[in-house]
Symmetry: C2
Subunit: 254 residues, 2 copies
DNA sequence: TCAATCCTTATGTCCGGACAATCGGACTAC
DNA sequence: GTAGTCCGATTGTCCGGACATAAGGATTGA
């Protein structure tokens, strides 16, 4: 006797719009993701085989596979050869993204504000020149900012950028994040190298962040590269650990 | 007059072994990655179009695309429609992995050692029970370890695991990392939620880590899940910031 | 009763082709 | 000279099929 074979995707009302400019695999992936998010696809449930799903939607199997693969890459699904594709139990948040503190705070529901303390052109030190890939002594932008949320200082941010990349208007720096300015200038961010550590606050930092001297600070140094491999930014940030921590999700590499 | 059309992959001696059980796309990806690593493919150079590459290797275009895509996902290549596929300039290190401190130290050339301070079964507190998905008061393993490298303390690690998942032998805990034990027990790690912060050392921590009381410590809390969604481990770690920091690379999402 | 084997099922890999979208340069018109 | 247009090149998307491989259950044998 064959078992009932309840395919949870059968009752989901999945459909794709071939007239849309949105790729078919992407439409499907979005609908599946929404179904998982809303609990229509319960964790642990099998998805029903790809062939059938493709036939039901009038798609080819490669297209369905591409959709499923994108969700596997996101950590929402797990495939098992000979078994099927399964919804992962654990609730996934987004993995660590190449995002700015400003955006992080904004999505967390805070209303971040910035106070620009320094915005000037300075000659690059040897270390900085090496990191940014410019010649020593060449002009670089130096930006020092204090980031606040609800009037309380969150972080003290020191950034250096190669000169000539974009014009850094103090007003715009106060209104938004640095990453958004870079993107608006036509720079496509590609990757970043980060280092997260901790150290005691210097007296200057302590005063700006309203902490005691020697208080523990969470630190982050980051070099950001665009898709041509140029270093476009080097930042050294100090966060108040009582107000900020780095939360993220990791996925095992296949 | 047609331009020279120097395709750097033409002189690379790429070839695939159809008798091998390793997938063709994977063979190609490995060879391309090696070529990039060794500098045979210089940053910024175009790769030559997929059709030609496929023809030269006797492969189909989808297979070549799959190989290239895997390297794009790794951040080694960038594709541009209408232009071509380009080697990224910036040197990539590995992105942040789901790895244990033990493995991290080992690959960094250190010879880590562990000292197990506590290895016992304790009733789960309400918080811990919620995190691990067990009932409050149920038995859980509690493991406290001190991790050292070159005889110096690096981190103080407190981990909790659901009982019955695996037998935690103190000797084996001292000989290797917790993640390796989990994998050996047939548990396939899938994802983890992490939070990195900082705080001042308590007197007990200070003594174990040979720091002063109130010294800044780098902290990490992590819940690890297997591929069925079960929480398999919750860890609260404290690192000496002078000896350890979290270094990793981020890729922009698509 | 237990173990080895076969069979079903589902994903993994691979093919060859087709058309669309986009980029960049060359060309043309003003 | 400058702006708009056209066109070739290249990747993006999609199709329909084929066979291989692994996992799990059912069957068979000892």
């Amino acid at each position: 006797m064959p078992k009932p074979q309840v395919d949870p995707t059968a009752t989901l009302g999945l459909r794709v719009d071939r007239g849309s400019p949105v790729p078919l695999y992407f439409q499907l992936a979005q609908q599946l993701e929404a179904a998982i998010e809303q609990g229509a696809l319960t964790p642990g449930s099998l998805l029903g085989n790809e062939i059938e799903l493709a036939a039901r939607l009038g798609l080819s199997r490669p297209t369905v596979r591409q959709a499923i693969q994108s969700l596997v890459d996101k950590g929402l699904l797990v495939r098992r050869r000979g078994v099927g594709t399964q919804v992962v139990h654990s609730r996934v948040s987004r993995p660590l993204e190449l995002s700015s503190l400003y955006d992080d705070l904004e999505t967390a529901g805070q209303r971040p504000t910035s106070r620009v303390l320094v915005n000037a052109l300075v000659p690059a030190s040897a270390d900085l020149a090496g990191v940014l890939g410019v010649t020593e002594g060449a002009d670089v932008h130096r930006v020092e900012r204090l980031r606040l949320a609800h009037g309380e200082p969150i972080a003290y941010l020191v950034n250096h950028l190669p000169a000539g990349l974009l014009d850094l208007d103090t007003d715009r720096l106060e209104a938004t994040g640095l990453y958004r300015l870079l993107r608006c200038a036509g720079i496509t961010l590609h990757s970043a190298r980060q280092s997260i550590g901790a150290r005691a606050a210097t007296s200057a930092e302590a005063e700006r962040l309203e902490e005691a001297e020697g208080a523990p600070l969470l630190t982050m140094e980051r070099t950001t590269y665009d898709d041509t491999g140029r270093a476009v930014e080097f930042g050294a940030h100090a966060y108040r650990p009582s107000r900020y921590s780095f939360d993220f999700q990791l996925l095992a590499r296949s």
